[in-house]
C-alpha cells in the first residue's frame, strides 16, 4: 500500500510542479522593478526626450470595450470554413478596402491583436499584424509604402511625396491605417493632452517586456468623462513608452491596452524592409490619400467642431460627412442601439452618436452628454 501511495504522490507532484512553473512565469512577468525615485515631471521629460527609432519587437493589443468580438464576423458571414482569418469585407475585398474600411477599424478595436514591429530610423518601418493563418503587413522603405494582406493575396502600393510635409506623420497612424499603432504613437497623443485638466502622478515601478519602467498615471480631473485613468509605462533607460493602458471609470482592468511583449533595440535585418508584391498578387496603385480620404480617422474630416473642454470634449462632425458606407454595414446595426435622435455606439470608453440628420457626435463622455450636445446645436449646415 505504501508503495501505491508513493506512486500516486508522484502523480500529484507533477501537476504541482507544472502549476508552480506556470505561476512562477506569471509572477515573473508582473514583477515590479525598483528604480531610482523620480517626479512625474522628470518622467515626462524622459519620455519627451525619447528618441528610439531603431527597434524590433512584438506589440500586443487587447480591448475590452464592451463590444462584441467581431474578429470572426466577416469570415462567418461569408461561410469561410476555418474562420478567424479576419477577412472582414463583403466579398470582393482588397487590402485597400480592408485597410481603410470602417469594418477593419472596428475589428482592430475589438478583441485582441498581436503585431510585430520593425523600425530602422524614421524611413524604414515594417508592421506585421499577426492574424490566425493570415497576416497583414505594412512596409515602409523610404518613400515606398506597401500594404499587403495575405488572406486575399492583395497589395496596395503608395509612393509618399517628397520628404517634409509627410515625414512628421509618416510613422504615425496616417501611413498605417490598417495596422496596430505602436505604443509610442498612442502615448505621445496622451502626453500632448497633458494640461491643467489632468492629474499626473507616478504609480509603482513596473516591468514591461523585460525592461524596467516608470508608470505614469494620468487621471482626468473631471467626472464628466468615461475615462478613469490612463497609465503609460515609460522605459527607465530610453524613455520610450512601452505600454499604454486605458481604464474606464470605476473599472479595475484596462478597457484598452497596448504594449510591447518583447522588445529589442538592435537594428533589424535590412531584408525586412525590401518588399515587392509577390507574384500572383492583386496590386493596387494608390495615390497618397488626400484630406478627407481616410474615413475613420476623424482628424482628417473637414472641420470638426469641438465643444466642451479637456477630457469631456465632444467632437461634432458636420452634415455632409459620408456615413453611408458605415450605416449600411451589417456590423453597424449589431453594434448600435437606437436612442432619441439617432443611433448610439456605446463603449466603456467612448460614445458615438449618429443623429438621424446625419451628424456624428463622439467623445469620451456618457451618452447623455452627446444627446444634449446634439440638441444644443441646431442641425444647420456647419460649413
Amino acid at each position: 500500500m505504501a508503495r501505491n501511495q508513493k506512486r500516486w504522490a508522484v502523480a500529484i507532484a507533477a501537476p504541482a510542479v507544472v502549476a508552480v512553473v506556470v505561476a512562477g512565469g506569471v509572477l515573473a512577468t508582473s514583477a515590479s522593478a525598483d528604480l531610482p525615485e523620480k517626479t512625474p515631471e522628470q518622467v515626462l521629460e524622459l519620455a519627451a526626450q525619447a528618441d528610439v527609432q531603431t527597434f524590433s519587437g512584438t506589440v500586443e493589443q487587447s480591448s475590452d470595450l464592451g463590444l462584441p468580438d467581431l474578429s470572426g464576423f466577416g469570415g462567418a458571414g461569408a461561410g469561410s470554413g476555418s474562420g478567424g482569418s479576419g477577412s472582414s469585407s463583403d466579398g470582393s475585398g482588397t487590402a485597400a478596402d480592408q485597410g481603410l474600411s470602417p469594418e477593419s477599424a472596428l475589428e482592430l478595436l475589438t478583441g485582441s491583436h498581436e503585431a510585430r514591429v520593425y523600425a530602422d530610423g524614421s524611413d524604414k518601418l515594417r508592421v506585421q499584424v499577426l492574424d490566425q493563418l493570415a497576416e497583414r503587413d505594412v512596409v515602409k522603405n523610404g518613400d515606398d509604402v506597401w500594404l499587403y494582406d495575405s488572406s486575399d493575396d492583395s497589395a496596395v502600393h503608395t509612393t509618399l511625396p517628397a520628404r517634409g510635409d509627410a515625414s512628421a506623420d509618416a510613422s504615425s497612424g496616417e501611413a498605417t491605417p490598417g495596422a496596430v499603432p505602436t505604443p509610442a504613437d498612442i502615448a505621445q497623443r496622451f502626453l500632448a493632452a497633458v494640461d491643467p485638466s489632468t492629474d499626473v502622478s507616478l504609480g509603482a515601478d513596473t516591468t514591461v517586456a523585460g525592461r524596467d519602467a516608470y508608470d505614469l498615471v494620468l487621471t482626468p480631473r473631471t467626472d464628466a468623462t468615461l475615462v478613469g485613468s490612463v497609465s503609460i509605462a515609460v522605459d527607465s533607460e530610453t524613455g520610450m513608452p512601452l505600454q499604454v493602458e486605458v481604464l474606464a471609470r470605476g473599472e479595475s482592468s484596462p478597457a484598452f491596452e497596448i504594449g510591447f511583449s518583447d522588445l529589442s533595440l538592435d537594428i533589424p535585418s535590412a531584408e525586412l524592409f525590401d518588399f515587392t508584391a509577390p507574384e500572383g498578387t492583386t496590386v493596387t496603385e494608390k495615390a497618397l490619400p488626400t484630406k478627407g480620404d481616410v474615413p475613420e480617422a476623424s482628424a482628417a474630416h473637414p472641420e470638426p467642431v469641438v465643444t466642451g473642454e479637456g477630457w469631456a470634449s465632444v467632437v461634432e462632425l458636420p452634415i455632409g460627412t459620408d456615413t453611408a458606407d458605415l450605416t449600411s454595414s451589417p456590423m453597424f446595426s449589431q453594434l448600435t442601439t437606437k436612442v432619441d435622435g439617432g443611433s448610439l455606439l456605446q463603449t466603456t470608453l467612448v460614445s458615438v452618436l449618429l443623429t438621424d440628420d446625419g451628424r456624428v457626435f463622439a467623445g469620451a463622455v456618457p451618452a447623455e452628454a452627446l444627446q444634449s450636445a446634439a440638441a444644443a446645436t441646431p442641425a444647420s449646415p456647419a460649413e
Partner: protein, 285 residues
C-alpha cells in the same frame, strides 16, 4: 532504474536492448495493423481529394486558408489539408491509437502476458506512449507528403509566397513544410498522453478512444468561447492552428516554444497519472 526490481542492475544491458526491441516490435505491430494503415490512408486521401477538387473546379470560391493559392502553387495542398485535418481527423486517429494503447491489450487479454515477460510496467507505458508519438508524426507527415505529392502532380510547383508577402524558394518551402509537420505532431503529443491515461482506466478500448476524441473536441469548443478566455492558453488545442507562424518572415518561434512547453506540461501531468494508475492497477486480463 526501478528499485522494485532487484534484478535490474545485473541484467541492465540485455534489458536495455530488450527495451529497444520491444519498442521496435511495438511499432511494427502498430504500423502493420490494418486499422493504422487505413487511418493513414484516410489521412492521405484528404489532400488528394482537395487537390483533385481544386483541379476539377478551378478553385474559385471560399474555403479554408491557403485554398485559393493551390491553383498557383501545388505546395499549398499539404498546408490546406493540415488546416482541414487538424480540428477532427488528426485528433481522431491519435485518439484511436492512444486510447487503444493499454486498454486494447487488456481487452484482448495480452496485457498480462506482456507483463509476465520481463517488461516493467513503466517501460510498457513509455513504449506505448513513444509509439503513439511516432504515430502523431507519421500522421502529420502523411498529410503533408501526400499533399505535396498530389500538388506536384496536379499543379505547378514554384517559389512560395509566405504570409508576410515574402517569397522563398522551393527548398526552403519544403523545409518549412517539414517543420510544420513536426509542429502539428508536437501539438498532438499532449493529447496522446491524455489518451494513454484514459486507456489505463478501462479495459474497453472503444471507450478510451471515444473519450480521448471527446477531450480533443471539448478543448476546441472551449477554445472558441470567449467566456472561457482565461482557460484558453491551457487548452491542449490552443496552439494547433498557430503553425502558420512558421510561414511568416522571419519565423515567429514563440508559438513553437509555447506549443512545446504546453505539450510538455500535459505529458508530465498525464504521464505521471498514467504511471500512478497503471502501476497500482490490478492487471486481471
Amino acid at each position: 532504474m526501478s528499485s522494485s526490481d532487484p534484478t535490474a542492475a545485473t541484467v541492465r544491458s540485455p534489458r536495455r536492448a530488450l527495451g529497444w526491441g520491444f519498442f521496435l516490435s511495438e511499432l511494427g505491430v502498430l504500423f502493420r495493423r490494418r486499422r493504422t494503415q487505413a487511418m493513414l490512408g484516410a489521412l492521405a486521401a484528404v489532400p488528394i481529394l482537395i487537390a483533385v477538387a481544386i483541379r476539377v473546379t478551378g478553385g474559385d470560391g471560399r474555403g479554408p486558408a491557403f485554398l485559393d493559392r493551390i491553383s498557383q502553387n501545388g505546395l499549398f495542398v499539404g498546408m490546406t489539408a493540415l488546416v482541414v485535418s487538424i480540428p477532427l481527423f488528426l485528433p481522431l486517429t491519435v485518439g484511436v491509437v492512444a486510447g487503444d494503447s493499454v486498454a486494447g491489450e487488456a481487452s484482448t487479454g495480452t496485457l498480462r502476458y506482456l507483463l509476465v515477460s520481463p517488461v516493467g510496467r513503466i517501460r510498457l507505458l513509455v513504449v506505448k506512449f513513444a509509439s503513439a508519438v511516432v504515430f502523431c508524426l507519421a500522421a502529420t507527415l502523411t498529410v503533408s507528403l501526400a499533399g505535396i505529392l498530389a500538388g506536384a502532380v496536379l499543379f505547378p510547383i514554384g517559389p512560395v509566397t509566405l504570409l508576410s508577402g515574402n517569397t522563398v524558394d522551393v527548398g526552403e518551402a519544403l523545409l518549412r513544410a517539414l517543420l510544420i509537420s513536426v509542429y502539428v505532431a508536437l501539438g498532438l503529443v499532449g493529447l496522446a498522453a491524455i489518451g494513454l491515461f484514459i486507456s489505463t482506466l478501462t479495459d474497453a478500448p472503444v471507450g478510451a478512444m471515444a473519450a480521448t476524441v471527446v477531450v480533443a473536441i471539448l478543448s476546441q469548443v472551449l477554445g472558441q468561447l470567449s467566456q472561457t478566455e482565461l482557460l484558453h492558453p491551457f487548452l491542449p488545442s490552443y496552439h494547433w492552428l498557430d503553425f502558420a507562424d512558421l510561414l511568416r518572415q522571419p519565423i515567429d518561434w514563440s508559438s513553437f516554444a509555447g506549443n512545446a512547453w504546453l505539450q510538455l506540461a500535459y505529458v508530465a501531468i498525464f504521464g505521471t497519472l498514467s504511471y500512478a494508475r497503471f502501476a497500482t492497477k490490478d492487471v486481471l486480463s
